[in-house]
């Protein structure tokens, strides 16, 4: 709308310098599609907020995700081919699932989607990444499988699975000069991912600086703190009050919780709409956002090796503090003595008129 026709200089919409942005989302890594399912739970923003243009100033977003697509088969995958041929631009590439090592065997495939018209053979996920990553404005690894390898990259796995940055290289940059953006979590916390997408849209619209990432390529505002930093059971840790089995609502660190050393905001944010989480609601933190997941946290239900020492140290201080707080707590649980029904005023006020 031309500004001269708008009364009083009114301005509610700012046009994005990029009118249309495509999101090509490959779910065909070694995964479970749990991250695609997870983002349908997001509300801050929701997937429909982004697709229906509910947030002002952003480009129109076109999503090509097989779990949510209207189209089937060739009609669906032609968009991926178009992106690979440079006909769909600009686009953000989202990868879900770990990347298998296709070079360790004589023939066949570990992960593939779509059929190569020339050979009649499946197109491997690695081939899709090779075709699409060089043309993408930004590449986002969604969930711990895609970021660092995750469950399918566990010791003893037959596929040689790894994370996207292991595959493309940790120094890899998109054609726009952006490193891979890693949003880990098994699955990814819904709002963490959609908020990252929103940030990238702001970037594309020229409304935000380059996304701040840490050494592990995670958005710093989401993964800068630990589970413990946001856990409401951290208070019982501080007081040396540890659960002896899973019946207890106290700190779970002696029962396998790795929260004090895991970068994740879930206990603070909740799983969705502030509800649920992990140690805050009785589930040990198994480190599912971490590059060392799962092997460095197994067996999950044993006390982490370092926790024995740290809980012993905090136990001395915490037990004393807890005892002192109990005394104070008892005091503040009593009303002041001047609230009574006796026929005298003992509040300290000296009435002269009654």
């Amino acid at each position: 709308m031309a500004t001269d026709t708008v009364p009083y200089g009114r301005k509610t919409q700012r046009d994005s310098p990029v009118s249309d942005l495509h999101i090509v989302w490959i779910t065909a890594g070694l995964g479970c599609d749990g991250d695609s399912v997870s983002i349908t739970a997001a509300t801050q923003p929701s997937i429909e907020d982004v697709l229906l243009g509910a947030i002002p100033g952003l480009p129109k977003v076109h999503l090509y995700n097989p779990v949510l697509a209207y189209e089937n088969g060739e009609e669906f995958i032609k968009s991926w081919h178009a992106a690979a041929n440079g006909e769909l631009d600009p686009f953000v590439l989202v990868i879900e699932g770990s990347i298998p090592n296709e070079t360790i065997k004589k023939e066949g495939y570990w992960a593939a989607v779509g059929t190569d018209a020339a050979t009649g053979q499946p197109i491997t996920t690695c081939e899709w990444i090779d075709r699409l990553a060089p043309r993408a404005l930004a590449v986002v690894a969604c969930g711990t499988c895609a970021t660092y390898g995750g469950i399918h990259a566990m010791q003893g796995n037959p596929t040689g699975a790894m994370g996207l940055a292991d595959y493309l290289g940790w120094d890899w940059k998109s054609k726009a000069g952006l490193p891979i953006v890693n949003v880990p979590g098994c699955p990814v916390q819904p709002d963490n991912f959609m908020e990252t997408v929103l940030y990238l849209l702001y970037m594309v619209a020229g409304l935000a600086p380059i996304i701040p990432l840490d050494d592990q390529l995670r958005p710093t505002w989401l993964f800068g703190d630990t589970v413990h930093d946001g856990c409401d059971r951290a208070a019982s840790y501080e007081q040396g009050d540890f659960a002896a089995d899973y019946n207890s609502p106290r700190c779970l660190v002696k029962l396998g919780c790795w929260g004090p050393v895991v970068n994740c905001n879930v206990p603070k944010r909740g799983w969705m709409a502030g509800i649920g989480g992990c140690p805050n609601v009785g589930g040990i933190c198994i480190g599912c956002t971490m590059p060392g997941f799962p092997d460095k946290f197994m067996p999950f239900m044993d006390e982490p090796p370092g926790a024995h020492l740290s809980t012993g140290v905090i136990g001395v201080y915490g037990t004393a503090i807890r005892a002192l707080r109990k005394v104070t707590n008892t005091t503040v649980n009593k009303e002041p003595r001047w609230r009574h029904t006796r026929p005298e005023l003992t509040t300290g006020y000296r009435p002269t008129t009654y």
Partner: protein, 595 residues
């Protein structure tokens, strides 16, 4: 025995065209469908399906701590991972010899009920029903849409849409009002799930021996208020879906043949009753029958067993056209006899060994990453289906006639579901009656009714949980030690059908672990006896009602047949069907000879 004979009127010389869809979207995972369509007789002549992912759970779980099994196996599936985690804890409980406190079982049942409410809801109305939405019907059957515009919705008073076409418009993806409402419902039902199991889809609070969830007045009240919103929602959804499904039968005579196959279904039962379930193999027959969804094998429409011990003994894993080497000759025997002394077959999950051997995809040889689960019945290895889960559950429960909890009554040929009064709607009773056919429409209809069933079951579980809470019995966990040597099995219903986990423990570590989810049952390739899988005979011979000719063909009737099973590809899907003469090769919908 009534074998379904389809399309006896196929009289014209076949004109076969190869049409493929790779990937099939709006399901979880990567599925490719390769068909031969006979456009002269308007019928699917031939069908193969493939999935191209291998991860190797049963390989990398060997040697791991048995307590880790539920955390690991949850990651098998991104939409029903919690069903895997739950099933794994059932197998752990048996292997470790523990019985969780009743409160823990009610919490797990409430979590799993929320999973059914969420998962059926999002699959039905945000993924599957797009095949029935205005946009799709306009592109595939314009005359049906025209008719829908002039067809009043019989239950308009219950759901508010005056005509069938209005319902179809409300189902349009993202822009449709009902589509968006169900997305919203899929969120608060997942909140209910998170209250009980911590996180969706990989739970945080499940353990062998119970749960870490803290049972409080707040926990159950938060669940209850959301549940009652869902109950009110179901009073609209059941009549809405009935209207649209009935309309398709009426508008397209013969539509009952789409996706039809013999009524051969399996259900492993869901929702343990803590009063009965002690997790011993010895008593599994009794506590299996006490489940709030009755386990049952139905052959040709007749219930042949509800006994989980018998069911366990008759599961067989056969090799198909898959990228594995056989283990039956020199593989290790882990379990010779079950705990009741019955011999266990080499091809039983307890004795399976997974030896991957990747190769090129060759539809005449190997093209598949899955094996073929079969049910041994009277000497035959039967290819059973789950009907997308809900169909087999309602069928087994109805025919068994055991479940009777106030909100639900199984009658022997139907299941009655009672939903109490809600904010703006009175009490209602829904009755799911055993249908005449096992076909696409009835699988889809059963899904809607099971959503109501899950809500009714949750009302019962809430009554029980509040009773425990008010009696002060708030323990949620039974401590245990891991034995050096043990075996266990867990039986559950994943949202889309049967789920079993079989574990063997040696030296305190996992020696063998084999999960069997629903999709391998539904979508197996031909096995070594040449028996085709359920997708095959339900998709093959599906008549084509789509009005488009070969040049604009979308294959909507095939899509409806396939999606009615609620395929979930992380489970693995591969199928193969027959040999048709190839006259042309085309990739739908962009036709033209392919190089």
């Amino acid at each position: 025995m009534t074998v379904v004979e389809k399309d006896p009127t196929r009289t014209k010389d076949p004109v076969l065209v190869d049409v493929s869809w790779d990937p099939i979207t709006r399901i979880v995972g990567s599925l490719g469908i390769f068909t031969k369509i006979d456009f002269a007789n308007r019928v699917v002549a031939d069908c193969r399906s493939t999935s191209s992912i291998f991860r190797g759970y049963s390989i990398f779980m060997k040697g791991k701590d048995p307590r880790d099994a539920h955390f690991i196996t949850s990651r098998i599936c991104g939409i029903c991972g919690d069903n895997h985690a739950t099933c794994a804890t059932y197998a752990q409980n048996m292997a470790f010899g523990i019985r969780p406190p009743a409160m823990a079982e009610w919490i797990v049942n409430l979590g799993e009920a929320a999973e059914y409410m969420f998962d059926h809801n999002i699959f039905q109305d945000n993924l599957l029903m797009v095949d029935f939405c205005e946009q799709m019907v306009k592109e595939t059957n314009p005359s049906v849409l025209a008719r829908a515009e002039n067809t009043p919705a019989p239950h308009a008073a219950d759901h508010g849409y005056r005509t069938i076409a209005e319902i179809m418009r409300a189902l349009n993806p993202f822009t449709g009002e009902f589509y968006r409402e169900t997305l919203h419902v899929s969120r608060y039902t997942r909140e209910m799930f998170c209250l009980m199991e911590g996180r969706h889809v990989h739970p945080s609070t499940l353990y062998p021996g119970g749960v870490g969830t803290v049972p409080t007045v707040q926990l159950f009240s938060d669940y209850l208020v959301r549940l009652m919103r869902y109950v009110e929602f179901m009073k609209k959804v059941v009549p809405l879906h009935d209207d649209i499904f009935d309309f398709f039968y009426e508008a397209l005579p013969g539509y009952e043949e789409v996706g039809r196959r013999r009524m051969d279904t399996v259900c492993w039962g869901s929702f343990n009753d803590p009063d009965e379930c002690d997790y011993t193999y010895r008593h599994m027959t009794n506590w299996g029958r006490a489940m709030f969804v009755t386990p049952g094998v139905v052959v040709d429409g007749k219930l042949v067993t509800t006994d989980l011990v018998e069911i366990n003994r008759n599961i067989r894993i056969l090799l198909g056209h898959s990228f594995y080497e056989d283990w039956a000759d020199d593989g290790e025997v882990f379990v010779e006899k079950d705990p009741l002394g019955f011999p266990i077959d080499k091809r039983h999950p307890w004795n399976q060994t997974t030896i991957p051997k990747p190769g090129k995809r060759d539809f005449d040889k190997n093209y598949s990453w899955v094996m073929c689960p079969r049910y041994l019945h009277e000497g035959e290895h039967l290819a059973m289906d789950t009907g997308g889960g809900a169909f087999a559950r309602l069928l087994a429960t109805s025919l068994a006639g055991i479940v009777d909890v106030g909100y639900i009554k199984a009658t022997g040929n139907s299941t009655k579901i009672y939903l109490p009064k809600t904010a703006s709607k009175p009490e209602v009773e829904f009755e799911w009656k055993v249908p005449k056919w096992s076909n696409a429409i009835e699988r889809d209809r059963a899904r809607t009714y099971f959503q109501a069933y899950a809500a009714a079951a949750a009302l019962h579980f809430l009554d029980k949980a509040f009773a425990e809470l008010n009696a002060g019995r708030t323990d949620t966990f039974t401590p245990f030690t891991v034995p050096d040597e043990a075996i266990g099995c867990g039986f559950h219903e994943a949202v889309r059908g049967v789920l079993s986990h079989h574990v063997v423990i040696r030296d305190g570590k996992i020696a063998n672990y084999h999960p069997y989810p629903p999709t391998p049952w539904n979508a197996t390739p031909r096995d070594m006896y040449g028996t085709p899988g359920p997708y095959e005979d339900s998709v093959q011979n599906t008549p084509i009602f789509e009005e488009n000719g070969p040049d604009t063909f979308k294959g909507i009737d095939i899509m409806r047949a396939v999606r009615s099973f609620d395929p979930c590809l992380p489970c693995g899907v591969h199928m193969y069907l027959g040999n048709g003469k190839v006259l042309e090769t085309r990739h739908s919908p962009n036709f033209g000879p392919q190089p």
